[in-house]
Symmetry: C2
DNA sequence: TCTAATCCGTTAGCATGCTAACGATAAGAG
DNA sequence: CTCTTATCGTTAGCATGCTAACGGATTAGA
């Protein structure tokens, strides 16, 4: 993770970068990704893990619907599914009922891997929230969900 | 912004993707960036605007120090400063006291632009926080700062 | 039914954001 | 003063994440 070094300073117009919601969200997201990468194995990235978990929840999904469910646009879904395919964690077949669609599902290896990595996912979430007291964690998640 | 479409569903192991802090931070950050892009002009990105504001606060900064102050690693600082240079918003000169360093400062155009865009920055922050009541906004920012 | 609108996946292009490696320079230890 | 260590900026390589454009398939509506 990058160490930030400033004390907030500004030019007297009341715009302190360090207090802006966008900047704080960017930094919090960076920190969460950094913790994820420290704990997660198999070289999985946050979007890749999210996609695996969601495919497991669906059983079978089209590529675009998967993307919508994890907030990835079609172009990004494309890249993520390609990499998961290359790692043999998912399978892909044409939808016989709609020739535009590609249906995704976990491969046996993917199935096994997700099961094994869920505890790491929980550990990552806990560590990311660690600076807050349990009561604060609940408040924060509730407010964050309203803003997401 | 991407429309998310799922009702949370899971495989009974208590890991609901939609409740995870990392996933929520990623989505909130996406939403904030989307609002930024709608309101900001000149094709400026969030990191570019952050860099401009921070250079203004410093007056003159080395490239790496600028990066640390806005949480960008040196490789990313490199790209952002290149693009700001290409837009003639900043100036760059060698540090006579340390030949490793490059000193950055706003160009006259950059100076004028930052002054003009600060109100948009404030508007972006307000709109991003809009889903929360004023009291919740304060709580949220305080907790977010602890996690960032 | 035929046509217009929509949806699906793909690609190209660009901007973060990271790691790893590098040469050049500066600072510190002995 | 020399040798080691740290810092600065740069580059290459990879993974998100976006827009814009596209060709093909499906759906909706006139």
């Amino acid at each position: 993770m990058i160490e930030v070094d400033t004390k907030p300073a500004n030019a007297g117009d009341g715009y302190v970068l360090e207090d802006q919601i966008g900047h704080l969200l960017r930094r919090a997201h960076q920190r969460a990704s950094s913790i994820f990468q420290e704990i997660m194995t198999e070289g999985l990235t946050p979007p890749q893990f999210a996609a695996l978990v969601k495919i497991r929840d669906f059983g079978t999904v089209s590529q675009n619907r998967l993307g919508r469910s994890v907030a990835m646009d079609p172009a990004t879904s494309q890249g993520v599914t390609q990499r998961l395919l290359a790692k043999n964690l998912i399978q892909r077949r044409d939808d016989p009922n709609d020739r535009r669609r590609a249906l995704l599902s976990l491969s046996p290896e993917g199935e096994e891997l997700v099961k094994r990595l869920i505890p790491l996912g929980k550990q990552i979430s806990a560590e990311t929230l660690e600076p807050l007291k349990p009561e604060e964690q609940k408040q924060f998640l509730a407010l964050l969900a309203k803003i997401a």
